[in-house]
Structure formats: C-alpha cells, structure tokens
C-alpha cells in the first residue's frame, strides 16, 4: 500500500499536467484557425469615416521621471508631452521636410544667425492663458537659465545667444553662429513646446506632475507606477499642416500604461488591455503580421543599431590595412539574420539613410565582405599565418580584446568566428554597461560594439572631432582635416552645400576604416485593429488622425 502511493501521485501529477496542456492546446488551436481565415487582408477592412470617442491605450516599457519637459532626459516624457503641446515647426511625416505648426511662417537672416517666427493666432493653453511670443521667450529663457537644470532641452537650444518678442506674434532667436541642426531641433517633439508660465508659477516644484501646454490633449492624472491619463482638449484646432484632421483629436482620452517587462507588454496587447505597443522587438513582430486583429507599423531607426569601433591608439589597430581587413571579414547580413531576425539593412557608412546628408555612394565604395582580400591586406602588412592558424608579425599574434555589454553578446560571438577565419584572434570581454562606457571613453579598450540614435549628421562631430576625446570620440581620432569638415558641416545652413560636406566626411571615415558599420535596424509598433490610422515616421508615432472603432 505504502509503496504504491508515490506512483499514484505521479500518475495524478501527469494527469494534471496533461489537462493544463489540453487547455492551452485547445485554445491556441482556435486562435490559429481564426488567423488563417483572415490572412489575405491584414489591413482594417471597413475604410469608414473617423468616429469620435473612446480611449487609445499605449503601452510603454518606461515610465517618465517628470513631465516637466525641461527637466527630463527620457524619451517617453517627450512622447507623452508631445500630446500636451506643439512645437514651432513640425516635420512632414511623408517628406521629412519642415512645415508650419505653431509658427505660421519663419525667415532666416542672410548671415544665418537671426531666425524670425510669425506665430499662429488664436492658440491658447489648456488653462486658458493665450500663447504669445512672450511665452515662447519665457519658455526658452527658462531652459537657458542654469537654475532650471535643463537637460535634453538645454542641449537642443545650445547656441542661442538671445531671444526676443518684439510683438505678440513675432518671436526672434539670435544664434551665436549659423547652425544647420538648430531648425531641426526646434521640431523635437515635446521638448521645446511653449509652457504655461501661469501653471509653472502655480505648481512650482510639482509642475512636473501637473504639466500645462497648448496641445491636442490636456493632462488629467498620473498614477505612479501605472499610467498617465490625458483627456482631449476640445479647443484644439491648430495641428501641423500635414495632418488630415485639422480639428480636435477624435478619442476622448489617451492613456499611457507603464509595463516594464516586454513579455508582459505583449500579453497586455494580446488580452486587449493596451491598444498600442511601442518598441516591439523584431522577434515578436512576426506573429502580429499574420494576425488580422493587429497591424504593424515600421520605420527605420535614425542611427546605427550596431557598429564596431576601433581604438587608434592601439599599435596593431593603428595599421589601416588591419582595420580594412576587419571590415572585409565581417558578414553583416549574417549578423542581421541572427540578431534581429533580418529586420534591418546592412550599413557601409557611419550614418544610415534616414539621417540627413546620407550619401548613397557609400554603398558602392564602402568595404564589402571579402575574406580573401582581407587576408592579402594583412599579408601586405607583413603578417604570416602561424601554426595556430592566426596571423603573426615579428612573433606578435594579431589578437584583440572585444569589449561589449550583455545585449551584444551574440553579435560579438559571430564577429569572433568571422575574424578567426582571416586569422585574427578575438577574445570577448563582457562588461557591465557603466564599466564599458567608462573604459571606452577613457580609451582603455581595443575594439568595442555600440549603437546610437540621433537625428542629425552632426552626431559625427561627437564621434570623430578631436575635441571629443574623452567623450564619444572613442576611436581617439585627431585629424585637423576632418575636424574642419565637421565644423563646416555644423555651420553650413544651405542644405545642398551641407550634404556635400557630409559626403566628404562619410568618405573620409569609411576610407580610413575607423569603424565597421554593421546595420541600421527597424523599429516596430503594433496596433490593435480597433484603433485606426495610427501613423509612424522616422521620429515619432502620430495620433492626430487616429480614432477608435466603437
């Protein structure tokens, strides 16, 4: 009797597990047949007219630190506050060109230093105060005031000498020097919107949890750890000119829910408690593409998803042939397939096609996969293969340490294998992010893997200008010629001329093989089909035309 009991328990356990899987199995069967029926149309079928009402709920992996746009450095804060206020200029989502928003028109003086904005009339904050040029001046002054402790916003307005408001509708910005990236930064969503000075005065320290702007929505509540709720601003009729809906927004509410775990976020999307999931990983996107209950928006990210940087102060990497050989040994397509499910494009230059100034010629002159050529380059530098199969010169093996952080582990292992094929011995050092950042900034490394996001080619001066050694100039490059080009790129305002400058920069960087650019990836947003007309451009997700199927 006693001997039998463990067996019985085991049997009961097995039956229990069997039932559990039966439940899961049955239900996934039904959902997959539903999927098959509708695969031919993955777009919302009824192209009906927009309806007012309802709530759009967006899931976000991050929760903002504060909704005071001057004090935050978190992109989610700019995304949320973008609903609460507008910017002087907008970006047309189709052409990526500047267009009017809160400024009807603007002029740039001949010396490129004075920008004059003609403001739109009849715009009011949601607390009732009118939007005048003086408010813009006060807002910009608040950012420039060191006591505010502005972070990203301060970076965006760097270079402003002074601002003035000669009359109610005219706002003037004087720059220290002509700056091409500046007009673009005026479009940054959220950060540079005019703020209600009355509200800032009223709430003081608590303004960050009671923001007031002049946008399509007004702030309702922020439940810490859970959500931010915004309600429609019924007075709003001043969207940027490319929006189809030129009046107030359709939904009654926008809710941002904070779900820090990716899998929980997807479960929330599946269970219908959120309508929109932003930043969905490439590996998770496929199942929503084949499901008619959802639609997937995608855009190329502005920046590089992965690149390898090399320290020029290392004596082995100081050899151009070695850097070129490394460039030619790395198979970008294989890394894209393995690490991001093929959802990206190989990069040959330091900026992707989504950033202004990208020169398509890099695709022809950039270094291609060519292990034979890589080997002969190394041989021409005097390297020969030793008995271990690695390249060697004067008894010194061609061996490097590749310093990475956790998420790049898989790519690093592939690179290790690819470089081994041409006789380069790579060992991987996986570091905690903070340690890695410190080491590469100090030049205490040989090779490293990194990614970046930025909207202007001026990012290249952070990576390659000699003044940035100790900062982002991890390759520790000191090239007066390139320095001059980068400075010219920043101050040249005429677009065609500026493009030429950056074409030269890209050629210089690629020819000298300071980096191995690997890929630019896509970003994905998944939307429940009951929410229509959500749009996405390279910079942001747009909800002005969106509405909820009731």
């Amino acid at each position: 009797m006693k001997l039998k009991s463990p067996r019985k328990s085991l049997l009961l356990f097995a039956i229990f597990i069997f039932f559990v899987f039966l439940i899961i199995g049955c239900s996934s069967d039904t959902s997959s047949t539903e999927g098959e029926e509708g695969t031919d149309t993955n777009t919302p079928e009824e192209a009906s007219t927009p309806q007012s009402g309802g709530t759009i709920t967006v899931g976000s992996l991050q929760e903002p630190d504060t909704l005071d746009v001057h004090k935050t450095a978190m992109s989610i804060a700019s995304v949320i506050t973008n609903h609460l206020g507008g910017t002087l200029l907008g970006v047309n989502p189709e052409t990526n060109e500047l267009e009017p928003y809160l400024a009807e028109d603007y002029t740039v003086s001949d010396d490129g230093k004075t920008l004059t904005f003609k403001l739109r009339q009849g715009v009011t904050f949601t607390d009732g105060t009118p939007l005048t040029a003086q408010v813009f001046k006060d807002t910009f002054d608040r950012i420039l005031n060191p006591e505010t402790g502005a972070t990203v916003a301060a970076g965006l307005v760097a270079g402003i000498k002074s601002t003035s408001a000669p009359d109610e509708q005219t706002f003037v910005i004087e720059l220290e020097a002509p700056s091409a990236p500046f007009l673009n930064s005026l479009t940054s969503q959220g950060y540079l919107q005019p703020l209600s000075m009355a509200a800032i005065e009223q709430f003081g320290e608590d303004y960050g949890r009671n923001p007031v702007g002049a946008g399509p929505y007004k702030f309702k509540e922020w439940v810490t750890g859970q959500s931010v709720t915004l309600v429609r601003n019924d007075d709003f009729n001043w969207p940027q000119s490319s929006a189809v809906n030129q009046g107030k927004a359709y939904p009654d509410q926008m809710v941002y829910k904070f779900i820090p775990d990716e899998q929980t976020m997807l479960a929330a999307l599946d269970s219908g408690s959120i309508d929109v999931a932003i930043n969905v990983a490439p590996k998770d996107v496929q199942k929503y593409r084949n499901n008619p209950d959802y639609y997937v928006l995608e855009a190329d990210r502005q920046g590089l998803g992965l690149f390898l940087e090399m320290n020029l102060e290392d004596e082995l990497l100081a050899d151009l042939n070695v850097r070129k050989a490394i460039n030619m040994a790395i198979n970008k397509d294989a890394i894209i397939q393995a690490t991001i499910n093929g959802e990206g494009t190989p990069s040959y230059g330091p900026i992707p096609s989504t950033i202004f100034g990208y020169d398509p010629n890099v695709e022809s002159y950039g270094h291609k996969l060519n292990p034979e050529e890589a080997t002969s380059l190394l041989e021409s530098s005097g390297y020969t293969k030793n008995s271990d199969g690695f390249m060697e010169k004067d008894g010194q093996e061609l061996a490097f340490e590749l310093s990475i952080m956790g998420p790049h582990n898989q790519a690093a292992q592939m690179i290790q294998a690819m470089l081994k094929d041409v006789g380069i011995n790579v060992s991987i050092q996986s570091l905690e992010a903070g340690t890695l950042m410190e080491q590469v900034a100090q030049g205490d490394y040989q090779m490293s893997l990194l990614s970046y996001s930025y909207s202007d080619p001026d990012i290249l001066s952070m990576f390659f200008h000699s003044s940035q050694i100790g900062g982002l100039n991890h390759v520790r490059l000191q090239d007066p010629e390139l320095d001059a080009l980068l400075e010219k790129g920043r101050t040249t305002v005429e677009p065609e001329e500026r493009k030429q400058v950056y074409a030269q920069v890209q050629e210089n960087v690629v020819e000298n093989a300071y980096w191995v650019p690997i890929f630019a990836e896509k970003v994905f947003v998944v939307v429940n089909s009951r929410v229509k007309d959500v749009k996405m451009n390279n910079v942001s997700v747009e909800f002005q035309d969106s509405w909820v199927q009731q």
Partner: protein, 311 residues
C-alpha cells in the same frame, strides 16, 4: 512579558541597523562609476562631477554613512534620482498596493491551506489525502513565475477573463493574488495536515469520539485550535515575505507595488531609491516578525517563558 517585548524590539533595531549599513554600501559594490552609469554615454565630465558632488560621493565613506543615518532619523530617505521626488513618497505611493496584494494573497493561502489541510487529515491515506499531497508538492516545486506566466497565458490571453496590466481593481487582483496564495498555501496545508493527524490520534479526541460528539465539532473545536499555533507563525512569516514585495509576481502581472518599484529602481540605477526600498523592506520584515513573536507569546505563554529561561 514587557521584558520579552523589549528584547525583541532591541534585537529588531540591531537588525535594521545592519540592513542600513548593507543598503548604504550597495552603491559602493557596483562596478564602474555609478554617476557615469546614471548619466549615460553623452555625459560631460562637468555633469559627472556635479552629480558626484550632489550625491556626496566625493566625501569619505564614514562621513557619507553618518550623513545617511542622520537624514534617516529625520525621515529623509533621500531623493529619487530619476523622478526628483522624495524616496519615502515613492515608497508610500506603492506600499498600499503591495499590502492589498499581500493580504488578499495570504487570505487565499489561509483558506486553501487550512481547509485542504483539514480535509487531508480527516481523510488520511485516501485518494483525497493523495490529491492534496500532489497539490502541495506541485505548489512547492513549481516556480512561482512559471505559474504566473501559465495563469496569464490561460486566463488573460486565451480566455480573456482577467485583463493584464490593467490597473489595481479587484478583478486585476485575482490572478496575482491566486499565484501568491497557491504557493503560500502549500506550507500552511502541510503544517495543518500533519498537526491534525497528530492531534486526531490523541486520547482526548478518542474520548470525544467515544462520547459521540459530531465529527465537525471534534475537528474544529477540539483539534484545530491546538494545531493553529505553529500555523500562525508560518502565516505571519509569509505575510512579512509578501509585504516585502513579491518582486517576480508583481513584475509578471505589472502590479505597481514595492517589488516593481525596487526592480525599476535597479534597472534605472536609481541608487537612493534602491537603498530606500531595501531599508524599508527590512523594517517591514523585522516589524512583522516582532509582532508575530508577541502574538505567539500571547497564544502560547510557554514561548515567553522559554526566552526568560534562556536569557
């Protein structure tokens, strides 16, 4: 009795003091420069210097600790680096949610645990007892996060009965509380069952049976009371554990309690907030422990005697 309570409180304070040293040292165990980590890759050396100074990280270790303790006594747990709000405000915002989840989870655990325990003891060595044993074995051996994910898959995603990451209403509470409850119930059940089996074989139960008392009366009035003493201790300890924030369960269900707060603080490297939550959880744990000890000594006076003899 007073002496006993005083002893417990004093030793509790000692433990909290230890926790405060540990939570203070946390920052210094982190590899790399914490300030650089907090500010990210675009930080200028001036920004790094400013924040280092602001956090007092440029002062000697002992001075830093002294300042830390002095602030604690004034109720100042520091300021969250991320939100700029007082750490104590951040914690007190989340704590009620954790209490809600813990109390409801514990309620489920007690109801399931005690009733199954009695059932198993009453029908000892029958199929019912076996089923209860299987349940207990499963509850102990299944990782709670796995059970949580399973419940989400079945009840949120497939059946869509309970929404996930929806809010903190009663309906949102059910799945996470059940997960916690099921796992916590197993220990209560085993204790109740074994205690009952032992008690039911006692002479006085046999006497009660011989007198022809009702089964129900024997179980609940005569047996259960004597079994409950150790069970109460376990329940108290489990409450303390649950109040410390069921980190994984809160994360899976996106429950805005102390657990997700602590995890978020770790992810965003908000060191003052990490220190604050660790210390707060320590205080909660110790306080509940002291309360349980006192309660225990009230239920069973022998406990107090034991301590007196030992000291």
């Amino acid at each position: 009795m007073k002496q006993f309570i005083l002893n417990r409180i004093l030793s509790g304070i000692l433990v909290i003091f230890g926790v405060s040293i540990f939570s203070f040292l946390l920052i210094h165990f982190i590899p790399g420069d914490p300030v650089r980590i907090m500010l990210g890759i675009n930080a200028t050396p001036e920004q790094v210097e400013r924040l280092t100074h602001h956090l007092g990280l440029d002062k000697p270790l002992l001075v830093q600790y002294g300042q830390y303790i002095a602030n604690l006594f004034q109720g100042d747990f520091g300021t969250s680096l991320k939100t700029g709000r007082p750490v104590l405000t951040e914690i007190l915002d989340r704590f009620p949610e954790t209490v809600k989840l813990a109390v409801f989870g514990l309620l489920i655990a007690v109801v399931i645990g005690i009733s199954l325990g009695i059932l198993a003891a009453r029908f000892k060595d029958t199929i019912i007892d076996k089923l209860c044993t299987v349940f207990a074995t499963l509850g102990v051996s299944i990782p709670s996060f796995w059970l949580a994910i399973l419940l989400v898959m079945v009840f949120s995603v497939k059946l869509a009965w309970f929404p996930i990451a929806n809010g903190t209403n009663f309906r949102d509470l059910i799945l996470p509380a059940c997960t916690l409850g099921v796992v916590a119930s197993t220990m209560i059940m085993r204790l109740t069952r074994n205690g009952m089996v032992e008690v039911l074989s006692n002479d006085y139960i046999r006497t009660a049976r011989a007198k022809g008392l009702e089964d129900r009366l024997i179980l609940f009035r005569h047996a259960l009371r004597n079994v409950l003493i150790p069970v109460v201790t376990v329940i108290g300890l489990q409450l303390a554990g649950l109040l410390g924030g069921a980190v994984i369960i809160e994360q899976v269900f996106n429950w805005p309690g102390l657990g997700t707060l602590a995890l978020g603080a770790i992810m965003s490297r908000d060191f003052p907030l990490i220190q604050g939550t660790v210390l707060f959880m320590g205080v909660v744990y110790v306080t509940i422990n002291i309360l349980v000890d006192i309660l225990y000594s009230v239920i069973d006076p022998r406990v107090e005697m034991g301590v007196k003899e030992a000291s």
